[in-house]
Symmetry: C2
Subunit: 437 residues, 2 copies
């Protein structure tokens, strides 16, 4: 999609026009953060920065866009002329994609003339919210699977086609092994995979014939055994083995219905007794991290999980309380003071303190304060020029792996952590809040 | 987005290749339907057909797509050559967008050589699922608002940028009055609207100054009064009226936090006493149909609602149990027989029976059966040619209005209906199920 300035809410443009004619060109800081972690998430993983940087870098208004805006009858000619040459000229500081973060921590901060920062609000929230939501859900399935394979089958139920691709990327970053989404495979270089559908079995005279024909094209495929009855389906796999003998290369079977854990014990036994220890068992069908956890903890002999809908819509938490707020203007901290809704003022930095290879505490501070730990926000845009070049997907994926390995064990549970991760405020921020609320 | 054949799951393509080499070119019927209505939905509204038709009409594989497929090492040269000239040659029958429907009713059926029908599965489910989900949520907010204005503020939290546009279209079809999404406004001709953000107020020395400056650009705007305190904010609106006198044209105020219903009574009183009966009150902030219902039933003097997140992610029901199943092959009914998961065989039709201007019953039947009522599925594609031309958005919107006006009152409640709408099976379908399950 074109990086057009009309990918925004109308009020961002009406405010921009007001700032333009009021000649309010002073720098503002806008901060993107999640107010409160949902109780079902012990941590979040930042994702979506690459699309934001790409958008900001290419942001412009086309002739056609300007004609549309003119047609609304609320924008003046002089302002539309200004938009014709609009270019973002500010700085952006952000957590690299794949960074673990917590409530109230700025994921991204924009320092720019106020109207410019305002204009970007809608797009920035949308991309970072959605992709962060997806990565933060997927890591939970990966953790629940305890090293077993997790594959994204979500294309059909994710909210929108383009979103399915971006979700596939977020899942991969979070450690999901592959996707069924071919377009995402091509676009992002993610491994693609797939088995067969029930309809393929139904289109043949019988299941055995369907298996035989499919294997003639894809010798090491995974056969779907539950179209009629998983036990009989598995018998048909064994029959195929008896027929093909040393030419039998089928790598696995898939079950997609019923009590997956329960079935897997039975099917494993049948396969083992037939000498097919090497044939793996894959499960799919309405899975999420809660079910995967249960299955894995039961010791069910399932080697991998295909997960679609519930990961793809983040069904237990379909949105985050993410906001983009003005925090500084003309060098002064500015915050809205509603009860229960803290906004931290100023341009900020987050410091993360590590001890014996584990993260133990974060401190949010005003930028420039001297605080222990490692700073997390990087300058990714400077005076309108992109500073962070496009990262390799596998580098981001490895970052997630490292980040997660440093988290306290308690946070890696699927259940809510007993102790939430400590996020402190620096003396300057604490003092500001004390004086302003 | 390009209508490329790789907008699909990998297994659709591997099955297509198998069918190609097996020379299985016989016609199949695939049926798209929702198995079970969620208990939070008394009816659904079909949406997304226009994108599906557009996709199918333009479906092709580019050179680049084919190179990618080749790189996967599982597709043969001859098959890739076949894909080069791939064109959909089948028929499609579908409910026009904006049609009300219920469980097990085919929303769309494809009759085509089996591999072709299979290839389209992923894309068709994705578009119809997402857009139907959005329209079916939005109608509930429209009903709850009982004629009061409902505006889409969802762009920032809907799952993805492209999806935000499609959602805005679905919302408008369902009766939502306008959107804040400028791009969607341009793309679909939906009315766009917007007010101002808290940041605009914060960027000024005080609230009164912010209101004054904004009104100088947008005399009949809606002023956001709750940045600091809604009562004081409203006083500032009145101060502005006192200053501008007959030049005061502000059309409304907006509150975005706190107990919206409660505040509205107070603010209405203050405005009325100041002689500003004509200034309307708009509310936003975490609203869904449940809250709107409560507010409206309380008689709160709110004239319109801005709704974002909860409508935009369909938070109470973030996905539907929608499936695309093989139901006929080589002229025979084919269904998967899993317990609790009925699939209805054959190419079908849905008849809707109307009495005294109200819908009273639907009957799903095999196409060709003689059944009373009005058939709902239309032929929209014939032998690969699109038959239904693009419908005007307002025509679809009017269809929803008419459809909903014919539904039994019980279904229009926000709470679950006491009696779900009757959907019967024809004798032929009943008989098939009796013999096959």
């Amino acid at each position: 999609m074109r990086a057009t300035g009309i990918l925004t809410d109308l009020y961002e443009l009406t405010m921009l026009q007001a700032y333009y004619f009021l000649e309010m060109e002073e720098e503002a800081v806008f901060s993107l953060f999640v107010r409160k972690l949902p109780k079902e998430r012990n941590f979040l993983i930042s994702c979506g920065l690459e699309d934001v940087l790409n958008f900001v870098e290419n942001l412009h208004f086309s002739e056609e866009d300007l004609e549309y805006l003119e047609s609304l009858g609320i924008f003046k000619k002089k302002f539309l002329d200004y938009l014709k040459d609009f270019k973002f000229t500010g700085d952006i500081y952000a957590m690299p994609e794949g960074t673990v973060f917590f409530q109230n921590e700025p994921i991204l901060e924009i320092k720019a003339p106020i109207g410019q920062g305002q204009l970007l609000e809608t797009y920035i929230i949308n991309e970072i919210h959605f992709q962060t939501l997806m990565a933060s859900k997927a890591i939970r399935l990966v953790l629940a699977a305890q090293g077993k394979r997790v594959v994204d089958f979500g294309f059909r139920r994710i909210h929108g086609v383009e979103s399915a691709h971006k979700a596939a990327r977020a899942f991969y970053i979070a450690g999901v092994d592959a996707t069924s989404n071919v377009y995402a495979g091509k676009r992002y270089g993610i491994p693609v995979t797939g088995t067969m559908a029930h309809s393929y079995i139904q289109a043949h005279e019988d299941e055995f014939e369907a298996f035989s024909s499919y294997v003639s094209f894809y010798p090491n495929t995974v056969l779907l055994v539950d179209t009629y009855d998983p036990l009989k389906g598995t018998e048909n796999v064994i029959n195929l083995y008896k027929k093909l003998k040393e030419n039998f290369q089928v790598s696995g079977i898939r079950i997609d219905s019923g009590d997956l854990g329960e079935f897997s014990f039975k099917l494993r036994k049948i396969l083992d007794e037939a000498g097919l220890k090497r044939v793996k068992i894959f499960a799919s069908g309405g899975l999420d991290e809660y079910e995967i956890k249960e299955i894995v903890e039961k010791g069910a002999p399932i080697d991998g999980f295909g997960v679609g809908t519930k990961m793809g819509v983040s069904s237990d938490v379909p949105y985050l309380d993410i906001v983009y707020k003005l925090t500084e203007f003309k060098g002064e901290g500015r915050v809205k003071t509603s009860p229960g809704k803290i906004t931290l003022p100023y341009k900020k930095q987050v410091f993360r303190i590590e001890k014996n290879g584990k993260y133990i505490k974060d401190i949010i501070c005003r930028d420039g304060e001297e605080v222990e730990g490692k700073p997390i926000l990087k300058k990714v845009f400077e005076k309108g020029k992109r500073k962070l070049s496009k990262e390799e997907l596998d580098d981001i994926r490895n970052r997630v792996k490292e980040e997660v390995s440093k988290l306290p064990e308690d946070l890696l549970k699927i259940a809510p952590a007993l102790n939430s991760y400590p996020v402190e405020l620096s003396p300057v921020l604490k003092n500001f809040l004390k004086q302003n609320t």
